[in-house]
Symmetry: C2
Subunit: 409 residues, 2 copies
């Protein structure tokens, strides 16, 4: 065992994260490490903060990355802004809303739960009504991109509402940041966290987070320390602040190198162009899937471009198809979670994975498997629909109903 | 900024972690990532667990690595075994004991504090007396290798005591694991955590942790969930358990690759040979330093081989020397923390950094700087003393007092 050569397979990652990693990021990852207080590393931290501000579209001073995955970002957000007894309104319409609710209770908060069926989003009116019902609410937390369902929560109006009502708004942008429009300052947010494994970098291990000055005030005024030392932003902030640099924990150097290079790539491409790329590839994928007779899972008009959830048609075996994609094509897509296990697939087109070649390859591979198991009678309809999107000839899967359509759904 | 080539300097890391990274680990780091539920990754997790058991010298089923640095390991240990109101006896004789005490209170425990001056260790009698004084104590936590002082806490007898008294013993082996003897099962421990940036791998970002069956029982019987979702070992365990593989968070794939390769290197070398290498290089370093007139900081006979803390002689400017080592020699050593900032240096010889060439190079570089500022009158005494240790001619710095000795201390 010990002397075996370390050689994992090469996959195309089209699941719910991690996503594919750019070769420049792999090179940065394996650059020689320096110490966590080395001037060379401190300079990297400063540039990381500046680049993160550009990506979050904020001027927040407290903008940094935590030494954990996106879920550590979620926990840090709530553990720092919620004090014992504070009421938090949590939007629960998927796994990540459910997780937010769980964390509220763990950190000693009082939970006010707002629910929607999975795949749907919350309206401004619903949030307003919830705030009216319970004036004790201090914090509102919503998931911008629900990775378990592919639903895309609009947040700009809710930001304005929360600011008027003096509630702190926490937004989960783990899956959306760097792949869809996200304007922290314009949308009047207070806390936002993300993960680097989705649209930013592909490679998991760090959680970018940013706090508005109002959120920082709440943090500074806490009567009790946060329940987590590791994620205590008062302490972490002082390591990231140029004039202090107080040792907190040993930062994962290589992870920060990787994110630094990945953010440089994001900004070289430009946010607008990057969002457009994500939209285009998703449109092509959805066209292809619909041409094959698939139906998308999330609410029409509220679908994420980087996480495309689709109903698995009746008669198609979830595990068998995903296993063939992985084993025969080295291609990973995600299954459904909780009640939707076996019922939906989650097809990620995030960051480096959001590429025309991946869309076309996935559709071809899927068609091949569906044809092989007799679910479609001929091959080509899915790829043709996607190709029409790229060529500008078509925007929707109008070729559905031909011989390429899945037999039963 | 965005298009600049990513090129950090190449340092020799002889501080308190991170330490140097083996080229094979860098190669593993930049291997193409797979998904966190990919069969190829699950196989890596299984091998990681088996290798971690070998290194911890345990058969504990619950043995895995957390997606955070060593400090996340510390927090996870306490957050999972302490329930609100449980009394924990914490040995405080340095920064990391202080941190343990801080975390006890954050997670709702009642703190019983046992103190020793920094640089010293706790005796069996002291721990026994503390347990006698306060029968409500349920958990005892001690730092095996106090990175802030270089003190090496003996733990075997304390393990036996805690087992007799039915206390859970938590040991911090962040700095010692893989560099000094550590026998989880034989020493009757209940929880131990470490960090990969010290003697295991060099590169920070994961925290190996192991729980005895007794500790697992306590975890399973909790009335309240741990305050941390991210570090909840009931949930993480079920992702690492072969028959369950329940998604918890997206594991940092590349970090796990790196640790996998690093543990393979540890086991290829063999634990006993590795410990002997750490002892030998430390002995040579200490001989060299003593020959130059330096005095070691930690209690005689209780000094760590991988973290050598030394008093800075009077008249020597801490920051200036460390800065010259870094800028002129690309060599990092650590300064003192808290009350010992400016008073001690912490010279790490951990994992890949524990090499004869580093000892000799560091002593030469230090002698050059000390000679340049007029603190020693001639060069060579330190290196000669170290060389004598390697050649087997000498075990201690008997050449002290010659022209090579630091003038003032």
């Amino acid at each position: 065992m010990n002397s075996e050569i370390f050689s994992p397979p090469q996959r195309i990652l089209m699941g719910p994260g991690p996503s594919c990693v750019h070769p420049r990021v792999y090179r940065a990852l394996s650059a020689p490490i320096v110490g966590h207080l080395d001037p060379a590393f401190l300079a990297i931290m400063d540039r990381l903060q500046a680049m993160l501000r550009s990506v979050f579209q904020t001027r927040n001073r407290l903008t940094l990355c935590l030494s954990g995955t996106g879920s550590a970002g979620m926990e840090a957000a709530l553990a720092n802004v919620i004090e014992p007894g504070d009421t938090a309104l949590i939007g629960v319409n998927g796994v990540f809303g459910t997780r937010l609710a769980d964390i509220v209770e763990r950190v000693g908060g009082r939970l006010a739960r707002l629910e929607r069926p999975w795949g749907e989003v919350f309206s401004l009116e619903e949030v307003k009504a919830a705030l009216d019902r319970d004036p004790s609410i201090k914090v509102v937390a919503l998931v911008h991109a629900e990775t378990s369902t592919g639903a895309h929560q609009p947040l700009a109006e809710i930001g304005k509402l929360c600011r008027e009502r003096e509630k702190l708004l926490v937004a989960d942008a783990v899956t959306s940041l760097g792949g869809a429009e996200f304007k922290f300052d314009d949308w009047l947010f207070d806390v936002c966290y993300s993960g680097k494994q989705m649209c930013l970098c592909g490679q998991p291990g760090l959680a970018p987070i940013t706090f508005s000055d109002r959120a920082v005030e709440k943090l500074r005024a806490r009567k009790r320390k946060p329940p987590s030392w590791y994620l205590d932003l008062n302490l972490i902030d002082s390591y990231w602040t140029e004039s202090e640099r107080a040792y907190h924990h040993t930062a994962p150097i290589s992870m920060n190198y990787a994110l630094h290079e990945a953010l440089a790539l994001v900004l070289e491409e430009g946010l607008e162009k990057r969002f457009e790329r994500h939209r285009l590839n998703s449109r092509a994928l959805v066209s292809g899937l619909e041409a094959l007779g698939f139906r998308m899972f999330a609410q029409e008009g509220r679908r994420l471009p980087m996480l495309n959830a689709v109903w698995i048609p009746g008669g198609i075996a979830d595990a068998a198809v995903r296993q063939r994609l992985l084993q025969e094509y080295n291609l990973e897509i995600g299954g459904g979670l909780a009640a939707f296990a076996g019922k939906i697939w989650r097809i990620g087109l995030m960051g480096e994975s959001s590429r025309r070649e991946n869309v076309i390859f996935f559709l071809s591979a899927l068609e091949g498997i569906l044809w092989d198991v007799g679910a479609i009678r001929s091959i080509g309809a899915g790829v043709e629909a996607a190709a029409s999107v790229y060529s500008g000839k078509s925007g929707s899967g109008s070729s559905a109903g031909s011989g390429g359509t899945v037999v039963s759904r």
